[in-house]
């Protein structure tokens, strides 16, 4: 039913969004924890840096990532020194660019969830001799669950929907960097509106089902735990 080229793009997009969301939760959680608890003067500047990708137009951010990851750019110099070559035009490059691009959408909900817990419960756990790790894993993480769900949904959705950044650093290689949004754009530009409609419908259906399942499961889990 769906053309193979379109199917490839859908699978690639799902893979990209999954990898990026997993990485963002790993990177975003410690950053969010630190931001929620620190009194350092560094808090405001770090928060500002994390939020920057919201302000920058995606194609502008993509352009600077392309230059930065290029052979003469700072990131490119590092990856070349490590023997990895340069990142643009590869799946790895897309992952790195997407992590930058979607970072605020993951860090901010988790940070807010951590901040909402407040010091009371954590201090109570400490009086019961819970170590810092215990307090984090058995008190903070479960209480911040809705924040994590929101973060995962936003990070995933934002990566599926990203276009400008991928366009700039991707190079439109089938199976590597040609994601759904780029494929739809190609169809529209080539006046293949039928193909574009088909892919857009699949993308919407897929996104709706994913979001629906996440919210439904979260609601059920929240009801079970209370």
């Amino acid at each position: 039913m769906v053309a193979t080229a379109n199917l490839d793009a859908i699978l690639l997009t799902a893979k990209l969004a999954t990898v990026v969301t997993a990485l963002l939760l790993l990177i975003g959680t410690p950053v969010a924890w630190w931001l929620a608890n620190t009194r350092s003067w560094l808090k405001a500047p770090v928060e500002a840096v994390v939020a920057l990708p919201i302000v920058l137009p995606p194609s502008v951010l993509g352009f600077y990532l392309l230059v930065a990851m290029g052979p003469r750019g700072p990131i490119g110099q590092v990856t070349q020194a490590l023997g990895l070559g340069t990142l643009p035009f590869s799946f790895t490059g897309l992952v790195v660019a997407s992590v930058f691009y979607s970072l605020p959408f993951v860090v901010q909900p988790i940070q807010n969830a951590f901040a909402a817990i407040g010091p009371g419960l954590l201090e109570a756990a400490a009086t019961l001799r819970a170590t810092a790790w215990d307090r984090f894993f058995t008190v903070a993480l479960p209480l911040a669950r809705p924040g994590f769900v929101t973060a995962a949904v936003l990070g995933f959705a934002h990566t599926v929907g990203e276009f400008g950044v991928v366009l700039m650093v991707g190079g439109n290689i089938p199976g590597q960097t040609r994601v759904v949004s780029v494929q739809i754009y190609d169809h529209v530009e080539a006046l293949e509106y039928g193909q574009a409609h088909e892919l857009a419908i699949v993308l919407m259906g897929f996104s709706f089902v994913t979001l629906f399942l996440l919210y439904a499961l979260n609601r059920r889990a929240t009801m079970l735990s209370t």
Partner: protein, 247 residues
Amino acid sequence: MTRNMLFALVVLILPPMACADEVQVAVAANFTAPMKAIAAEFEKATGHKAQLSFGATGKFYAQIRNGAPFQVFLSADDETPAKLEQEGLAVQGSRFTYAVGTLALWSARPDFVDAKGEVLSRGSFAHLAVANPKLAPYGAAAMETLDKLGLTSKLQAKFVQGENIAQTYQFVMSGNAELGFVALSQIMKDGRIGSGSAWIVPAEMHRAIRQDAVILAPGRDNAAANALLRFLRTRAVLAIIRSYGYQ
């Protein structure tokens, strides 16, 4: 006396107001730099003002079909204006070729591309940037050139595609692709290649990259739109167009 002076004043002010029209022009992205220069000359010569929008030809087509208020369209190809004419969205008989593009194989590194383009058959590079042949006439011309050289299948794995010729240029300019097929107009400065190294692809390697202009339906009775199309054919404008690497 005062009445006469008032009359004189009105006569002095009115003509430019009555004649100076504004024309909304959709311009193919590859023609951005020359069109800015031409629009400035056009304003000086005629008093009309040209409002320029730059973008991809396919996007303009979709916008025009959906009622965009452009009055003149300078396309990157010759198919889109013909299609608009067939669909009754452009003025019959106003279409003509305003520029013929030149393809160049370019690298940001000096001495990387030789004057005959033999670097292609040596294949000593990781990425070759090409504009999407489905969307960009320069991309289609690049593919025809590679076909003619018999190198398409050999180099296939090294292709990176730009959505348009501007993005393809960025891939090469930033060094992420060692070389790529760009428009000569992008790398020409004051009549010569600005930086890096290039092979100017001979015209017989691919079908001519004809760029056609057309008056769109909303511009039918617009004096400025008609004046602009006449202006594009003047010798002074042709000289400007040539200095940017078009034929």
